[in-house]
Symmetry: C2
Subunit: 281 residues, 2 copies
Amino acid sequence: MKATARETFRVPSGPVDLSAIDTAGRPIGPKDKTDAARAMGELDARLDARQEALYAEGTAGGTRAVLLVLQGMDTSGKGGVISHVVGMVNPQGLHIASFKRPTPEELSHDFLWRIRKQVPTPGRIGVFDRSHYEDVLVARVDSLVEESVWQARYGQITAFEKELSEQGVTVLKCMLHISPQEQAERLGARLDDPQKRWKYNPGDIDSREKWPAYQEAYAAALERCDSDVAPWFVIPSDRKWYRNWAIAALLAETLDDLAPVFPAPDYDVEEERARLKASVV
Amino acid sequence: MKATARETFRVPSGPVDLSAIDTAGRPIGPKDKTDAARAMGELDARLDARQEALYAEGTAGGTRAVLLVLQGMDTSGKGGVISHVVGMVNPQGLHIASFKRPTPEELSHDFLWRIRKQVPTPGRIGVFDRSHYEDVLVARVDSLVEESVWQARYGQITAFEKELSEQGVTVLKCMLHISPQEQAERLGARLDDPQKRWKYNPGDIDSREKWPAYQEAYAAALERCDSDVAPWFVIPSDRKWYRNWAIAALLAETLDDLAPVFPAPDYDVEEERARLKASVV
């Protein structure tokens, strides 16, 4: 029996060593771009059908939703996943939230305040482009808060995600894992192409220079906040087409497991057929 | 010179007679589904490129946005346009708002209160699935408010849309124009298919029975709220593929006219290249 994407990419339990996970790996699935394009066609149809049923379920009192959390170093492909994977499903059923540097108002609240406001409502697929994990990543690396504060957040995050799961939100968290060499190429490409320069930020180099500290912070987040109700996945992301395929496969498997069903009508079908027939316009 | 979609579908000035506009017309563009599929491929690429530039502009202090308002009788295809046309662009740059029956809180405010909260921010393409026009459509047909109240709304809407235009939002409003026969077929199809029954609502027949009153209310809205800064377009919508093509073409022309440009970097490219080179990880 073939391994699933959920099994393959799940962060190993126990101490996490990101350097042991190949950023260019292709452990399962397509071996090249052509294979991947074919596979994406099938995944597209599967995602569309499942998402429509989930949405329909949500209109009829269903409580289930999906939340895809995307994290990764600059250029790792969060935006690419939104465009190429999330973009495959009907935008009506999506809720995308991008978390940037917190505003003064956001900072005056608990770190989960702004996050809670963006949790997808029933029937939706929510996508977080960065997330509450920034509060144990940049906050830890740059000492934006005291250590006791960020240390407490791992438990707070786990409790929050458990609560989400209990209210019907299936959470899946993806770390887009790239090598520093790949990042250098992508940053270089952004500087070279006038149509990509807007994506570049001098701060990207500042973060890049803290690569080991970030990898350590990621490892801690993955280790301490992985759970069966809100699992962490590490996605080899040096190849964009493989990253996209892997996340599409994860999403499709997740929706398959949910197996949403189109709701039964809350009206009498025969009666409505008669009303329709009688309605002469 | 070929007529544009903006010229072709713009509501004629003066008194509006919807019965004079063919719901199955194909005045310009593709003549069949195959032609349309080819045309959509080209429009997709055009929309993608323009939308990315508009989004980029918005990240760099630009103030421009686009707002596509979708109105039409039940089954006219508002959801289909969102899935098939709006779904072509990167979801990160979209803001979709569906306006359902107002909540008690919404009703306690001015009718534009909930609308203003959903105006797209700079760089975005906003889509309204139903809109403030419901407040001069169902509100008028079902006498939900006194006549003096809905009569005043045409002017209020025109002023609001002028304000949007002045703040940088390009508004385009599409009425999806279908025949009552086509609606009967589509409602019947929803009743027949267990996967579509969730889209059917017994209230749809109640609205259908008020067809002439709705057409009259639409005509008044189109006549009184059409303006060069927020034009109304009437989209022949009996053929789904034609409707989709027409709106994609309108959107593409609108974005072409805006001609958004990728912003110049606010950093020194050479300096950043040097920093990138020096950053050994």
